[in-house]
């Protein structure tokens, strides 16, 4: 009897969200051969990118005994990832980013032995990595516009200071080259600019956002580069919440904000989301702001997750866009909280009519154990691709999981 019921019990796995029909998750890499730990962390959280009929996932793990960058590629119609291979070759490598550059090619950047490297990847080949930083660098992210514009934004370290650099890249004869390089300057003398995100707007202009510590606490700033290559004066994206604006002795403090992510839709839509600890009792929440004029002006801040998530902290947020629809993803532990176990599930929300939806507990990325650190991409059809880290216990080795969501609207 039970055996006959099993197919019926499986049906909910093919769960219908409002806008996507999700299949069953597949394992990208398992932890069964050699215990190791996967990491999906990097500036802007750009680890998954669709290019034509393919999707590629980049991450760091220590299967070889040291942290290295790995990639897996999957045909959109294939049931799983065909192969996994290592991109980096140094002593240690961290925090990769990926962006598509054509129908079957990606540009990838990562930190390797404290410098920034970049490379071009196709399903068949990887070019020899190019050193973008020629010195200490970290926090690299990427943006492409699909018509040949490629930019890497990264933090250049000089002693205890860090300033952002935009490296415009070009692919010549299949290899990556630096076309231009510019340091981000702001009106305020900043000793730390880090964790950038970048996106090309529908107008073909580059918008970047980052964490800036010039004010004595962290703020999120953004700046638009016009087609002549000039950056507009940086604007603050998060609404500053100090403990009491009138008291001068508190002017250097404020609530925490961190890890901004960016996405661009059509008609000049630009969205920024970040983690914002303006509610001191429950930790960070996902907040955002959007622009309808290609990144020149931003709306008032809007809370992205619904009120059901207010009691717990949200982590690892990022956003993507397809046409006019924005999709944000993150993890939180509203479904279960334990001091002894790492707990978390993957949620997403979308904004299609001016408001963020109720949160969707992503099927297959929830339940016992930890499912977190999600990353997301949307392909040319508007279909979703998600990946996340899964662990059974606090100290257990991890594995990478992937989920496809077919567009239904």
């Amino acid at each position: 009897m039970i055996r006959w019921l099993l197919p019926i019990l499986w049906l909910p796995m093919v769960c219908h969200g409002e806008l996507w029909s999700f299949g069953e998750p597949v394992t990208v890499t398992d932890a069964s051969l050699a215990p190791h730990y996967h990491h999906l962390d990097g500036s802007g959280r750009r680890h998954l990118a669709a290019a034509g009929d393919y999707v590629a996932l980049v991450w760091e793990d220590d299967r070889t005994g040291s942290p290295q960058i790995h990639v897996a590629i999957k045909g959109l119609s294939d049931p799983g990832f065909l192969s996994t291979f290592q991109l980096s070759s140094g002593t240690e490598a961290y925090e990769p980013a990926i962006a598509s550059v054509s129908d079957a090619a990606w540009v990838i950047a990562w930190e390797q032995d404290s410098e920034i490297l970049g490379s071009v990847l196709t399903p068949e080949t990887q070019t020899h990595p190019l050193n973008l930083s020629s010195g200490p660098g970290r926090h690299v992210t990427l943006a492409t516009d699909g018509t040949g514009q490629i930019s890497a934004v990264w933090g250049k370290r000089q002693g205890r200071t860090q300033r952002l650099v935009v490296s415009d890249l070009v692919i010549r004869d299949g290899s990556l080259m630096v076309r231009d390089e510019k340091t981000i300057t702001t009106d305020n003398p900043s000793h730390f600019q880090g964790f950038p995100a970048a996106t090309y707007t529908s107008r073909g202009e580059l918008f970047i956002a980052w964490e800036d510590r010039w004010a004595g606490h962290t703020r999120i700033y953004g700046s638009l580069r016009n087609r002549s290559g000039m950056f507009h004066p940086a604007v603050q994206l998060n609404e500053h919440r100090g403990p009491g604006a009138a008291e001068s002795y508190l002017e250097n403090t404020g609530t925490g904000v961190m890890r901004v992510s960016l996405a661009s839709g059509r008609h000049g839509l630009v969205e920024a989301v970040w983690l914002d600890k303006r509610n001191p009792g429950s930790g960070y929440a996902v907040w955002g702001g959007h622009s309808q004029d290609g990144g020149q002006q931003f709306s008032a801040n809007v809370r992205v997750q619904d009120t059901m998530g207010d009691a717990v902290a949200q982590w690892h947020a990022s956003v993507v866009a397809f046409e006019d629809i924005l999709i944000a993803v993150w993890d939180d532990a509203r479904e279960g909280w334990s001091d002894e176990k790492e707990s978390g599930d993957v949620f997403l929300s979308w904004r299609s009519d001016g408001n963020w939806s109720d949160d969707l507990l992503v099927p297959g990325a929830s339940g016992n154990g930890y499912q977190g650190s999600p990353v997301i991409a949307v392909d040319m059809n508007g279909d979703l691709h998600l990946a996340w880290i899964e662990k059974t216990t606090l100290t257990a080795p991890s594995r990478l999981r992937y989920l496809y969501g077919r567009r239904t609207y």
Partner: protein
């Protein structure tokens, strides 16, 4: 010492109030005069010396951290006792700086905060050398409270009593 139970809920209320009543701001990094180590270094040293760890989860620009630094951790008795009794670790819970735990797992300071459910800063932990939590206190902690916490942990009372029971006895 404390007239009310030192439950985490009460601490949270104090923590929330403290955020808005915080006083002088430094940048709320680790305070001067304290020999804090990175968390993984502290774990290794604590294991080698079989000593408990005092972990300060802070944040750049955190007003309540600044107040703790200014009002509590400048107390010479607190500083002396904590240096004598604990291996000291400071974690910037917004930092991307990397740590490697004894089991080989690599994580950032931010992710360490997620693992220990650090929903705000400051958040103070007393830990066994293996990283197991003895007790944890969110929000502002005064110098007398730090000294009482030291008596609770260093005196070994945590093995037989909850912190609330210990405080209720007026120890």
């Amino acid at each position: 010492m404390w007239s009310s139970p030192f439950s985490e809920i009460n601490r949270m209320v104090v923590f929330m109030l403290g955020l808005y009543l915080a006083s002088p701001a430094s940048l709320a990094d680790a305070p001067d005069g304290w020999d804090f180590l990175a968390f993984d270094e502290a774990r290794a040293q604590a294991t080698a010396e079989n000593r408990p760890i005092f972990v300060y989860f802070g944040r750049y620009g955190c007003p309540t951290c600044a107040r703790v630094n200014h009002e509590s951790l400048t107390d010479p008795d607190v500083r002396k006792r904590y240096h004598e009794h604990y291996i000291l670790a400071y974690v910037d819970s917004e930092s991307g700086d990397r740590l490697r735990l004894p089991n080989g797992e690599r994580m950032t300071e931010m992710d360490l905060g997620i693992r220990y459910k650090v929903f705000g800063t400051p958040f103070f932990f007393f830990m066994e050398p293996d990283g197991k939590t003895i007790t944890r206190i969110p929000g502002f902690v005064s110098a007398p409270e730090f000294l009482a916490l030291d008596r609770y942990v260093n005196g070994g009372h945590y093995r037989n009593q909850s912190l609330q029971e210990f405080i209720s006895e007026g120890t």
